[in-house]
Symmetry: C2
DNA sequence: ACCTGAACACCGTTCAAGT
DNA sequence: ACCTGAACACCGTTCAAGT
């Protein structure tokens, strides 16, 4: 049922001891453990126990603990539907930045991992995450930015996205923060609003400086 | 020499077993260990070994491992010289945000801790970190922002500051990132420039939206 | 081929007992 | 008063041996 990967492998090469698990099963299990107990409780040993396999077996499918988290992020990013892009290049930058934030938002702990292993995840060619980077850079060019200005704008947006995720992860753990709590709207609405206003401010403010 | 705290304590109440260490010694040792081996290598056990004391003794001075890091951050923030504030309120917001970033910059790992224990560090009344928050909020008001707009502007700046620190910490560990590497200037100059331009863009962009 | 128990070298935290 | 060894309940990672 869930073990199709295993079956396929066993069929295609019928010699040797059959695998007891697959990359897909490991990622599924990890996802479930994370939203049951939080990402900081995910350990290789716990994951193996959950799957009912030996601890060392995990290391046949992932290089180490960080690699597991990065695979999870790339997996989520590739599942995320790419947004419709507006014709206006500036609007395109904004929409893509918001989509990038939303794609990462399903795993807020991603910020911590991405920052530690930074371009290890975003910068590898062929990864889906790279799509967001490309669209933002080329749209900025279309809006009249030089190569350098586009790079700087992306970097600023990246700081903002990562920072928002990081703060959100923290607040989730120990109650809402004061600045947000004092606003009249619901928590989720308020943070989304502040975030998108910030992205707009960053884009417009940067382009005003350039001209 | 470094053990004045201990001596003072021993003199003022001469009964009972004398302390073998003090909060100041613990913080000093932690600081040294961090910039020798990196903050992720700092452990309670290593710290105790470095001080030549029992592991459990550490827990007389700090509640737990996170508390130690937070004390370190607050200590650094309180040491940081407060910047001269310009008359123009908008400029005051910018200068204070840059100073806040610089104060935290001596401990880039602070971003991770602050995000996890968020307002636990920034929000406690009486802490020096609160000064930065107050100045930014009141300066934004002086510039014509409503209470809510000031709060939102601070939050945006906080996202940006935290994000920049987080990305910088990550890049330090595994080589410069591509966007920055492609710029003509030195690494440090380039990142400082991008950061301060971003703060300006955020402030100006936000105020343009308001009017 | 693929899996695993056991081992290695660590963690944070607590607490009864020692000085 | 203050300190601490030893214990508890964990970690990540490796590798020789097993199936």
């Amino acid at each position: 049922l869930i073990q199709d990967d295993r079956t396929v492998k066993t069929n295609s090469s019928r010699r040797g001891r059959p695998p007891v698990t697959s990359r897909a099963e490991i990622l599924d299990s990890a996802r479930r453990l994370i939203d049951e107990d939080g990402w900081e409780k995910l350990t290789v040993r716990r994951l193996a126990r959950d799957l009912g396999i030996g601890t060392a077996t995990i290391y046949h499918h992932v290089r180490d603990c960080d690699d597991l988290l990065i695979q999870l992020i790339n997996d989520a990013a590739s599942r995320y539907p790419k947004p419709e892009l507006p014709a206006d290049p500036l609007e395109r930058v904004i929409v893509t930045a918001l989509a990038m934030h939303e794609a990462l938002g399903v795993m807020p702990w991603a910020a911590k991992v991405l920052a530690v292993d930074g371009e290890g995840c975003l910068g590898r060619p062929g990864e889906d995450a790279l799509w967001f980077v490309d669209v933002i850079l080329s749209s900025a060019s279309d809006a009249g930015c030089t190569h350098q200005q586009s790079g700087e704008l992306f970097l600023k947006l990246w700081y903002f996205i990562v920072g928002e995720l990081l703060v959100q992860t923290g607040n989730a753990r120990h109650g809402a923060n004061d600045a947000i709590a004092s606003l009249g709207q619901s928590h989720a609405d308020a943070t989304t609003h502040v975030f998108s206003q910030g992205v707009r401010a960053l884009v417009n403010g940067t382009l005003d400086q350039a001209s």
